[in-house]
Every structure is written in structure tokens, then in C-alpha cells.
């Protein structure tokens, strides 16, 4: 039998976006003057020549079935101009240059159960990762965590209650594909991997696993006469980095794979320079299907932020102003030795001053 005829790929790479862009946006490309926010989820951008484009933004579940997708497209055709885009946080944006379409569009979306909002000083959709649905190394299910939290934060998405934008992320392992955030809910492993020695020999390239460990805790070893690996449990920081290249290094565990919450990752250069997120809470049970403990912490932090921050202060700015001791006080979260940095460059995170809050 002849080899099947294979089609050569067309290496077209990234396609041109102008072909899919609303004509008013194409025409005014680079010529926008300012924008206004008539209501949560709705913006109007005004071009220098007076042209206007309305944007209506709706939250989605990110992973869309074709029914939902077609439903959204039908709405876009009927109530907007047939042009859409998705934001970095998987919200869908509908465009129209006809103001009269805006309110009907908003109403329709709400009517159909989509969340309209996420603009300005709201809690934006939580950006997240694959989880149990697809990844090979996840400790939790990101989609489920996000659905559970957004249910509770719905009013914060559809209203402008916050001092500034709140960008939340969640990730299903410590690799953290979801990135930093004002608040990040991430998996934190609390025990070294258990090694399935029977499998190591077959599936793991031992030298590269050894090289992957950030703290050099893995040594090649013979176990029951077979080549395997062993972990120095005193050194191991339970990061799980050895698991992707070597799945027998089982880091996931129904008890010891927990959640941790980090705050203050701000990537914008607005006002201050970009900042890293910081650990505030760990030991949170990984508790499907609703993860209520994690949501409770997030809500508590948001409540204190809403209460305590000045307008335009992002979470990191608020905490830096009131000081970390006060943060732990107002949120009631425990301060532990685990908050004290001991990674490279830890000194920079210690208090080398008498600036103290009593």
C-alpha cells in the first residue's frame, strides 16, 4: 500500500486581524481620543474625528461549547454589528457604532444569563488554566474553582464597587500558567513527591529530572536493584517541578495538595512599577466541587480592600500603604513563619528599618 498522500502545511503563522475588525475601528486605527464608561460592561470610545464605537463586555466560561459560541454569534449579529473579540481574560466584547443597539444588547445578554460587566473598577473575570480537564500535572480544577468564585463575586463583576480594577488568577499547579494577580489562588503542594519506583526506569530520563529540581534534592539511586531516583526530603520544597518530566514523582495527593492565596501581583506600570504577588494564606483545603474555604478568604480580602483602599489603589498599593502588619490584622489571617521569605534574595523582603506599625 502506498503511503497516504500528506498535505503540506501552509505556514501562514499569525493571521491579519484587520480583516475581522469592525470598520469603525479599522478606520480610526490609532486615532482614538478618549473613552467613557456609560455603565458597567459598556464603554464608548470616541475618535478624534468624533466617530464612536461602543463596546459591550460579557463574561464567559472561557471553555465554550459550540452551542454557546453560536448563541453569542447570533446575539452579535442581531444586537451588534457582527464583530467581536475576546479579551485577555476571556471576556467577549461586542462592538457597534450605533448607540441605539447598546441597551438592547445589554438586556439580551443579561436575559440569556451572560454576565455583563468587568470594566473599570470591578472584579474582572478570573483568568485561569486547564486543571483536571486537560493538563497532565494539575492539582486542582481551575475551571471549577473559577466558576465557584465568580458565582460569589458576580455582583462585583457587574458593578463598580472596588477602589480600582481587581485582576484575579488561579492556577492548578505551582508552575502557575495563570500568572500573577491582585489575588491569585494557586495550588501549593505540602509534601515531597511519593515515587513510584517501578515506573521511573521506563518513563523518566533520570539526569534531566535531577537537573529540573530547583534545590538539587533529587539523586539517582538504585531501588530494589532497579535504577530509580530518591528525594532528600529535608531539602525538597515540594514544588512539583520534577513531576512533568517524570510522572512517577507523584506530587499530587488528595490531602497534601492544597491551595494558597497570594496578593499584590500588579503588572501595570500605572503609578508604581510592576510588583510581584506575595503569599498571604496557605493550608486551604482543595475542596471540590465548590472550594468554599478559598472563596471565603478571597471575599474577606476583597471586603477589606473595598473598605480600606483609596480610589485608584490596586491591592498592592493599598497594602503597602497600610503596611503588612495591618493587613494581617484587618483580614484576620494568621501570620506565620512561612510568610518570611527564604528564597534567593530573601533579604530584600525583610524589614531592615525601624519603620514599624504598632
Amino acid at each position: 500500500m502506498a503511503a497516504p498522500e500528506m498535505r503540506e502545511p501552509i505556514e501562514s503563522g499569525c493571521p491579519d486581524g484587520f480583516q475581522y475588525m469592525h470598520p469603525t475601528m479599522r478606520r480610526n486605527f490609532g486615532l482614538w481620543a478618549y473613552h467613557e464608561d456609560p455603565q458597567p460592561g459598556v464603554m464608548v470610545h470616541v475618535a478624534k474625528n468624533g466617530d464612536k464605537i461602543w463596546t459591550v463586555k460579557a463574561g464567559t466560561q472561557r471553555i465554550l461549547d459550540v452551542f454557546t459560541l453560536r448563541d453569542l454569534m447570533d446575539i452579535a449579529d442581531e444586537y451588534a454589528d457582527g464583530y467581536v473579540r475576546f479579551t485577555i481574560r476571556s471576556n467577549i466584547e461586542f462592538y457597534t457604532d450605533d448607540e441605539s443597539k447598546v441597551q438592547p444588547l445589554v438586556d439580551k445578554l443579561k436575559d440569556k444569563g451572560y454576565a455583563v460587566g468587568g470594566t473599570r473598577n470591578s472584579v474582572a473575570s478570573i483568568s485561569h488554566t486547564q486543571g483536571w480537564l486537560h493538563c497532565d500535572i494539575p492539582g486542582t480544577d481551575a475551571s471549577g474553582v473559577v466558576k465557584s468564585m465568580m458565582d460569589e463575586l458576580y455582583d462585583e463583576f457587574t458593578n463598580w464597587n472596588m477602589p480600582n480594577r481587581v485582576h484575579i488568577t488561579t492556577s492548578c499547579c505551582q508552575i502557575n500558567c495563570g500568572g500573577q494577580g491582585d489575588i491569585a489562588i494557586n495550588v501549593q503542594h505540602t509534601k515531597p513527591p511519593k515515587i513510584d519506583h517501578t515506573l521511573v526506569g521506563n518513563v523518566c530520563e533520570r539526569p534531566s529530572v535531577v537537573a529540573r529540581c530547583p534545590v538539587a534534592a533529587i539523586r539517582p539511586a538504585m531501588v530494589d536493584g532497579e535504577p530509580s531516583l530518591e528525594v532528600d526530603e529535608k531539602k525538597c520544597i515540594c514544588c512539583g517541578a520534577c513531576y512533568p518530566p517524570c510522572p512517577p514523582m507523584q506530587i499530587n495527593d488528595h490531602e497534601f495538595t492544597q491551595l494558597a492565596i497570594w496578593i499584590g501581583g500588579n503588572h501595570s506600570n500605572a503609578r508604581g512599577k510592576p510588583t510581584f504577588q506575595r503569599l498571604v494564606a496557605a493550608g486551604i483545603p482543595n475542596n471540590p466541587p465548590r472550594w468554599p474555604e478559598a472563596t471565603a478568604v478571597v471575599k474577606k480580602i476583597l471586603e477589606c480592600y473595598k473598605e480600606g483602599a483609596r480610589d485608584w489603589e490596586r491591592i498592592n498599593e493599598w497594602v503597602e500603604r497600610i503596611g503588612w502588619p495591618r493587613f494581617f490584622e484587618v483580614t484576620g489571617l494568621p501570620f506565620t513563619k512561612y510568610h518570611i521569605d527564604n528564597w534567593r534574595g530573601a533579604r530584600a523582603n525583610l524589614n531592615s528599618s525601624t519603620h514599624i506599625r504598632f
Partner: protein, 420 residues
């Protein structure tokens, strides 16, 4: 619609409650109502496995190696470890497809993609993954090539997976944003499409990501997430429409303006004139965006637009999170030559890193290991004080080339001056 034996999903069912759109409802809709029984079955299997994960708190996918003919990457292969229990979805690969810069779609194009996908795949897709790809989640061994062939024919190509140049991202930018200082779309495509070979055939030390934001608000989190972050900025003075400004002060009152604008300028370079005009000490403005974010009607970026380029951002693995660091404080991007220059810089960086990066080492980690200066010398970029937050504070450095280095600086300054 097939009449299938549904796996029970008591835990997942709970996720249908509540006001936020439910991915589980979407799954069920596909399982129960899609006309194609293949899809009903695949989703049934998927839900069965996911319910099992919820019950046991463990994931059950493993990787493998597959790719479309002619490419080495672009697909995340998934095989079930519990395929015996849930055979319908035991192969469940994801195709990563590059969207347009800024993620624009017409409804027609969306429908066309949906049609192709339900012909071959699970009917589930993500707009978008965190690296910016459309993720078509759930193809099996037999179907992924066909799906790719079909959409590739009408203009879509795979993104990256593995140690390669990855799919890029850019913000909505100039298409709909008054803060934009550059043509994000052109930058994005010039860069990533110069490296299609490196996107499709993974052969670099590790992944390499481009991200483009039109202004320092950095709506793409480029500094934190990109090996090569391009961020629009301006070099002259920002533009102040004093009439619009005064109208703003009148509307909001002086206290509000002091509390929310003047006193919040990071570089303390703003003050309010007697007549309520806005006085800006331009030599101190660091382009922190705040004033124009609050009052976009009155304050805008300047006219001498261009970009800042930062290098080396990434997440935790394996030395801790790294932000990108300034490599080019300012670059004009107007002419063809300008665009060639930015592409050349990217090439220099990727070449140097390909040669000097360790296996599984990102650019940021390499810079950390060899030091920024060695990196600059490797790619032929001159040192500039905007690259640093502060000069060194430890005297442990060998300075015997000081005089030459000083001479070079003075020469460069002379030339800049001569050039105007």
C-alpha cells in the same frame, strides 16, 4: 443525539448552580443535545473522567508525542490514564491555533471554525489560553490532522508548544484604545511571523514568548510573562488639553483632583496652577499613565511615539518569578527599517540564547546566570541608565576597563548630540 448511558456526575452538577455561566451546563448541552453522537459520547466520557477527578482529587491525563505532518509542535497530546473506565474520551488532544493580534473575529469566521471543529473534535474550544491560542480541546488520533488541514486552508495556523517560539499576544490597542502608542498588530505579526519555523519546529533551549502592549498600562502583562515584551510609549511631552482639564477640575472639585491625580503622580511631577491649569514637570514624568488613565479626555501620550523593549519575564520555574528588564528604552517604529531593526534584535536575542542558554533555561534565567552586561555584549546593545533601577551597591566588580567604557559613553553622547 445518541441515547447514551450517562456517567453520573453529582459533583459536577453542583457547578450548574449560581449566576456565572457554567462550563458544565455547556458540556451537558453537548452531551445531551448535540446531533452528532460522536460528540455526545466524547463529552460523556470527559465528564465521567472529570467527575472521577473531583471525587478523587487527582488528574488523569498523560502526555505523549503527536503533531501534524510537517510540524514538530503545536498540539498538546492527552491520553487518559483511566481510559478503561471512560473509553469515549481516551484520546483528547488540544490544537493550539494562533488568533489574530488582539483576537478579532467576525461572527462568520467564528461559525466557520465551529463547523470545522464539530466535524472532527469535541465541540469544546477556549478563547483563549493564557498564551493566547485558541485551544481546540479534544481531538483524537484520527481527527486532528484533518481538522488542521481544513482550517489551515482558510487561513489558520498552529501556535507553539514545546521548546520553541510561542504564539504571541497583543492588546486591543490602536484599534480601540486612546492610550496606544504603536501599531500592536504590525509589531506582533512582524515578530512572530518572522519565526514561523521556530514556532512549528521546537529546537530552542526552551520556550520563547513575545507580547505586545500599546502603552505602559501593559494590558497583556507582557513584562511579567514575556521573554520579549514590547510596550508602546512616547519620548516627547505628553499632551495636555488645558480646557478639558479645567472642565474636569470644575466638575470634580479641587480636592478630588488633588487626591486622585496630583498627589498620585508617582514622580510627583504634577501640580495645579493658580488658574486650575495642570502644570507638568516633563523632565520628571516617568510615563506612569496614571494622570491620563484618570483624565483621558484631557491628557494623552505625546506625539513622538515608539516602544520600550524588555526581556526576560517569566513565571516561577525554576529560580522564581522574573520580570522583564529594559533592553531598549526607546525605539521608533515607523519605517520599514524600524521594523527590520526590531526583528533583527529579536533574532540576535534568540540566536544568542539558542547558543548560550542551558537546556530548559528561559532568557530571563540566562540573563540572571550570566549577568545583564554579558547579555548586552552578546547581542550588541549599549548600556543605558534606563536599564537600571539603581547602580550596583557592592564593590565586587573588576573595573579595569573603566576608561574605555567612559570614553565610549562620551562618544555616544557626542554622536547623539551631533545627530540632533
Amino acid at each position: 443525539m445518541a441515547d447514551i448511558k450517562k456517567y453520573p456526575t453529582p459533583m459536577l452538577d453542583v457547578l450548574e448552580d449560581g449566576p456565572w455561566p457554567s462550563f458544565i451546563s455547556g458540556f451537558k448541552n453537548l452531551r445531551d443535545n448535540h446531533p452528532d453522537s460522536r460528540i455526545n459520547n466524547v463529552i460523556n466520557g470527559l465528564m465521567g473522567q472529570l467527575e472521577h477527578s473531583y471525587e478523587t482529587k487527582m488528574g488523569y491525563w498523560k502526555g505523549g508525542t503527536i503533531s501534524v505532518f510537517g510540524y514538530g509542535g503545536g498540539i498538546i497530546p492527552r491520553f487518559s490514564e483511566v481510559g478503561d473506565s471512560f473509553p469515549e474520551s481516551k484520546e483528547f488532544h488540544t490544537l493550539r491555533v494562533q488568533p489574530t493580534p488582539g483576537n478579532y473575529y467576525t461572527t462568520d469566521m467564528m461559525r466557520q471554525l465551529a463547523e470545522s471543529w464539530e466535524k472532527y473534535g469535541s465541540g469544546l474550544q477556549t478563547f483563549h489560553g493564557q498564551t493566547g491560542n485558541i485551544m481546540f480541546i479534544g481531538a483524537d488520533n484520527d481527527s486532528f490532522q484533518h481538522f488542521f488541514d481544513e482550517i489551515n486552508d482558510y487561513g489558520w495556523d498552529l501556535g507553539g508548544a514545546g521548546p520553541c517560539v510561542r504564539t504571541a499576544m497583543s492588546c486591543v490597542g490602536a484599534a480601540r484604545c486612546e492610550q496606544s502608542n504603536c501599531n500592536e498588530h504590525a509589531i506582533h505579526r512582524h515578530l512572530v511571523n518572522n519565526f514561523t519555523d521556530d514556532v512549528h519546529r521546537p529546537a530552542l533551549p526552551y520556550k520563547f514568548k513575545f507580547k505586545v502592549s500599546g502603552c505602559p498600562n501593559d494590558c497583556q502583562n507582557a513584562i511579567e510573562r514575556a521573554d520579549f515584551a514590547v510596550i508602546g510609549t512616547w519620548r516627547d511631552h505628553k499632551k495636555i488639553d488645558q480646557d478639558a482639564w479645567k472642565a474636569f477640575v470644575d466638575e470634580k472639585g479641587v480636592d478630588y483632583v488633588m487626591d486622585n491625580v496630583i498627589s498620585r503622580c508617582h514622580s510627583k511631577s504634577l501640580s495645579l496652577g493658580e488658574d486650575n491649569s495642570l502644570i507638568a514637570d516633563e523632565s520628571n514624568c516617568v510615563r506612569s499613565m496614571h494622570c491620563m488613565n484618570v483624565v483621558p479626555k484631557a491628557i494623552s501620550p505625546g506625539d513622538d511615539k515608539g516602544v520600550t523593549i524588555l526581556c526576560g519575564g517569566k513565571r516561577t520555574l525554576k529560580i522564581g518569578d522574573l520580570m522583564g528588564t529594559v533592553l531598549v528604552p526607546f525605539m521608533k517604529l515607523e519605517t520599514t527599517e524600524d521594523y527590520e531593526k526590531i526583528v533583527e534584535l529579536a533574532e540576535e536575542i534568540i540566536d544568542f540564547w539558542a547558543e548560550n542558554g542551558l537546556e530548559h533555561e528561559r532568557t530571563g534565567e540566562m540573563i540572571e546566570r550570566i549577568g545583564l552586561v554579558n547579555f548586552l555584549e552578546g547581542i550588541g546593545v549599549d548600556p543605558d541608565p534606563n536599564m537600571i533601577a539603581r547602580p550596583r551597591n557592592v564593590s565586587y566588580v573588576r573595573t579595569d576597563g573603566w576608561d574605555e567604557a567612559a570614553e565610549e559613553w562620551f562618544n555616544r553622547k557626542r554622536e547623539e548630540k551631533a545627530a540632533g
